[in-house]
């Protein structure tokens, strides 16, 4: 089963329910064959955007182009865009095979073709033996595969996944996301995937659009979002991060950051003069009993809390009036600091990011 690769363009879409503005001038360009994630907290508008692509709601302005064609006036049943629902929405009054056959029957395919395509779709998700079962007799993971098979069977132009992993337990979730990605790569189908879980989005997507308050905050590859967050929201939402306020001034050697806590630091990236915040990932910081490396910037702090997370220990330390999170890699025998201990925090100047205030 090899499907056409299709481009999805979202152009300046705004959508409101009554007075509530849900999407504000949203634009995104989803490349053919791409695995694209819509990431955001609940209420960010990500599901609304997905449902707009499927045709379940209408935007007040802007357009959705699929394969270059404006589909804004096309009803859901004529769009040929497959959607896997968050709750799978399997019909309990039909068997697994009946569910998978539904869309093909609606397309009035010959009986023989339907039989063959249903078998192929179930085979693809490894559920051939379950064809005669009812959805209620399947586990959560199996139900999800049926939902995927049902959607794939109609050979849709685009595959939409609405929080497909949120109803699975943690272990299965990791397993299923690998499986979903493998399936998508095999079919080569343009896929849009909604999630509120940043780990999920970062791990399997080619690119991610982060939404908040109905606005696209940033679109980029997972690594771009993590390494070069466009604003404070992205920096905070994608991964864990510390912010330190201060001012930037220009000098001959480039931008220089200054704050009472850190003193002057030459920044590795260009920055406009004025008030800024520098962003520090917890694992780029180090804790030490004494200042042992003069190449780093050192600040004094007190350990406030400690969480043991296996691979590392997450310390919350207090430096002046500033709380910092520091992740120290953990191996058997490495130093462990007790809450209340006086420590020094090392900042690597080349790992500093700058967020315009």
């Amino acid at each position: 089963m090899e499907l056409n690769k299709v481009r999805v363009e979202i152009r300046n879409v705004s959508l409101a329910y009554g007075k509530t503005q849900v999407l504000r001038d949203v634009s995104a360009n989803i490349e053919p064959g791409e695995f694209f994630a819509l990431l955001g907290p609940s209420g960010s508008g990500k599901s609304t955007l997905l449902r707009l692509i499927a045709g379940f709601n209408q935007s007040q302005s802007g357009e959705v182009l699929i394969d270059g064609e404006d589909v804004s006036r096309v009803p859901p049943w004529k769009r040929n865009i497959g959607m896997v629902f968050q709750n799978y929405a399997l019909w309990p009054h039909m068997t697994v095979a009946g569910n998978v056959a539904f869309g093909l029957e609606e397309r009035r395919l010959p009986r023989e073709d339907i039989r063959r395509k249903v078998a192929a779709a179930l085979d693809l998700v490894g559920l051939s033996e379950y064809a005669a079962r009812r959805p209620g007799q399947l586990s959560g993971g199996q139900q999800q595969r049926v939902a995927v098979a049902r959607t794939i069977a109609i050979e849709p132009k685009v595959l939409l996944l609405d929080e497909p992993l949120s109803n699975l337990d943690a272990k299965l979730r990791v397993h299923m996301r690998v499986e979903l990605l493998a399936l998508q790569r095999k079919l080569g189908i343009t896929t849009v995937f909604v999630t509120h879980d940043q780990e999920e989005a970062l791990s399997i997507s080619d690119r991610v659009a982060v939404l908040d308050g109905g606005i696209v905050q940033q679109i980029g590859t997972p690594m771009e979002l993590y390494d070069r967050p466009a604003n404070r929201f992205i920096a905070n939402f994608v991964g864990t991060i510390n912010f330190l306020p201060g001012t930037v001034s220009a000098s001959a050697g480039g931008a220089v950051f200054d704050s009472p806590l850190t003193g002057k630091i030459a920044l590795p990236v260009p920055a406009a003069p004025g008030r800024v915040e520098i962003a520090l990932r917890p694992h780029s910081l180090r804790l030490a009993a004494a200042r042992d490396n003069p190449a780093r910037i050192w600040i004094d702090a007190t350990v406030a809390e400690r969480e043991f997370l296996g691979e590392f220990i997450r310390y919350k330390v207090r430096a002046g009036d500033q709380d910092l999170i520091v992740d120290e890699p953990h191996f058997p025998g490495t130093d462990v600091f007790q809450p209340g201990a006086m420590v020094s925090v090392a900042i690597q100047p080349d790992q500093i990011g700058v967020i315009p205030a």
Partner: protein
């Protein structure tokens, strides 16, 4: 190790069991026994042979099946589009339709039947107008048609309300995924929406079938006696309590009612779809296009006119001086009301007394059974629930025959009166017949209450009895009140047991009075006036308790109606 039979709950369970045994199980068993017993106490099918040997009985049997079946068909045609409109589209008629659901409770079909004859009958308003304008008449009310028409109009809300509940339970994603895969319009309804609403439809349809199959009042008022219930009644009242043919008819009615209940359960086995899932939202409401609006509102107005016809008719009849061979009464008067209030205050009082006691008993028993089932592990309490619910399948006329036979010759202690001619038996019949409604209501109320609320009470030092009094009952009060209202309202218009158990004029409740008045052309006016008064009393009662309910909990009127649809 605690005992399997904690004393207090066990005592309560035994008390309820004794009541159900004495006033439901044994009387019905007696009816069945008589139908199958020969003179010497042995088993025989000869009574069934002679029953089916009588051509009138054969005809009645097929007629009953036909009337019940056709009533289901017509009720479906009315109810399904209405249910779909209310759930599926944004429009203003929803409240109206909810109100429609209560109307049959307030006025049973037999009260409106005469009025329907005056409106839709051969020389009724509609046909007079049709004849004037087009020179045609429609035989809507002729013979069995009339029974089917009146019953379908009165009982379609059972299908309507049950389907609305079912449709509301369908997650919008169920429909959206079908649209996503290419289905729309009628196909979408036929393949996805209707099958998913099937549990509600089947429950409602079974209920309509049973109600119509067992109805005695409507056929009697319309003078259609070639049906099973009227035959059972006539055989027993005219030939006597010994006549086995009446018992055979009774057994057939019980069998078909049980069969309908069983068939609906069988049909739905494994299909009780829990379609509400995480992120649940009911079917998305769509805006109607102008064309659809015209269709939807047109249908609703038509149905509304039909449903209100008996009510309007009764009102006209109660104020009309003479209404015969004319579109509307010739002139209006208060005479009928005056004569009813002067002559029959006793009936009004009897209705309030009997139904008040019966409804109170129902909620007490209902709450007790609900608590025993949901909160204790006394073995065998499920049987109480099952038995009490089975009363649904026992026609009033059968229960009454059972009472008359079982308690034949018993005398009341301290009173020089036969038990079978005492009004107490009427109250007991009401209690048993309306217990399923109160029980459903109480069970639902207790089910919605998390057990941790009680455990918190016990944890803070309240014992079982005090927890029930201070936490359980106050939290259940909405459901209990809903049960009370439902039982009271439906008991107030009960006729089929009443008609057999009333022996003295001074013991008769309003339903009996209405029936008696309606027998003669001269009595129609006062009968209608009494009917209007009954509706007003029930409506006031409903309103008052509705106020109490809504001020104390969230249980709504719709809740009351849904309970009926068990």
């Amino acid at each position: 190790m605690p005992t399997r039979f904690p004393p207090a709950p066990t005592a309560v369970a035994l008390l309820i069991a004794a009541f159900l045994l004495a006033f439901l199980v044994i009387p019905v068993a007696t009816v069945v026994y008589v139908a199958f017993a020969d003179g010497a106490g042995g088993f025989t099918l000869s009574h069934f042979q002679s029953f089916f040997g009588i051509s009138l009985m054969r005809e009645s049997f097929w007629n009953s099946l036909y009337v019940a079946g056709m009533s289901v068909v017509f009720a479906t045609l009315i109810a399904v589009p209405l249910a779909y409109f209310t759930v599926r589209f944004q429009f203003r008629g929803a409240i109206l339709i909810q109100t429609l659901g209560i109307l049959p409770l307030i006025m049973p079909p037999f009260v409106g039947a005469v009025a329907m004859q005056l409106i839709f009958g051969r020389s009724g308003s509609v046909n007079l107008l049709l004849n004037d304008w087009f020179g045609v008449t429609v035989p809507i009310m002729d013979g069995l048609n009339g029974v089917i028409f009146v019953e379908a109009i009165h009982y379609f809300p059972f299908i309507l309300m049950n389907m609305i509940v079912s449709l509301n339970n369908i997650d919008s994603s169920m429909e959206e995924s079908a649209q996503n895969l290419g289905a729309f319009g009628l196909r979408l309804f036929r393949r996805i929406v209707f099958p998913l609403a099937m549990p509600g439809f089947v429950a409602g349809a079974a209920l309509v079938f049973i109600k119509v199959f067992d109805d005695l009042g409507t056929p009697l008022v319309l003078h259609q006696t070639n049906l099973l219930a009227p035959q059972a009644f006539l055989r027993i009242t005219s030939i006597g309590i010994e006549d086995p043919i009446g018992y055979v008819a009774s057994v057939i009615m019980v069998a078909f009612s049980l069969f309908a209940l069983w068939a609906s359960a069988w049909f739905m086995r494994g299909k009780e779809y829990a379609t509400m899932q995480r992120g649940y939202s009911g079917l998305a409401r769509r805006r109607l296009t102008p064309g659809q609006s015209v269709l939807a509102y047109g249908w609703i107005v038509l149905v509304l006119l039909l449903v209100l016809a008996p009510h309007i008719g009764i009102l006209l009849l109660s104020f009309g001086k003479v209404w015969s061979f004319s579109v509307l009464p010739d002139s209006f008067t208060l005479e009928h009301f005056i004569s009813v209030v002067k002559d029959s205050p006793r009936m009004i009082w009897n209705t309030i007394l009997y139904c008040g006691i019966a409804a109170a008993l129902d909620v007490v028993i209902g709450t007790a059974i609900a608590y025993l089932i949901l909160r204790t592990r006394v073995p065998g309490v499920r049987v109480l629930d099952f038995t009490a619910t089975a009363a649904l399948a026992i026609p009033g006329v059968v229960l009454a025959i059972g009472y008359l036979r079982t308690f034949r010759g018993w005398e009341l202690p301290f009173a020089d009166e036969l038990f079978t001619s005492s009004w107490i038996l009427i109250v007991i019949a009401y209690t048993v017949r309306r217990l399923p409604y109160a029980l459903r209501s109480c069970t639902a109320a207790l089910q919605q209450m998390h057990v941790s609320l009680e455990e918190a009470g016990e944890n803070l030092g309240a014992n079982k009895a005090r927890t029930i009094r201070r936490i359980v009952v106050p939290l259940m009060i909405g459901g209990i009140m809903a049960g009370f209202v439902t039982s009271f309202m439906t008991a107030a218009v009960e006729l089929s047991a009443t008609i057999m158990l009333v022996t003295a004029q001074q013991d008769a409740p309003m339903s009996y009075g209405i029936y008696l008045f309606m027998q003669s052309a001269a009595g129609r006016g006062p009968g209608a006036a009494l009917g209007v008064l009954a509706v007003v009393i029930v409506a006031i009662g409903t309103y008052v308790s509705h106020r109490i309910i809504t001020s104390r909990s969230q249980v709504s009127q719709a809740h009351v109606v849904q309970n009926i649809g068990v």
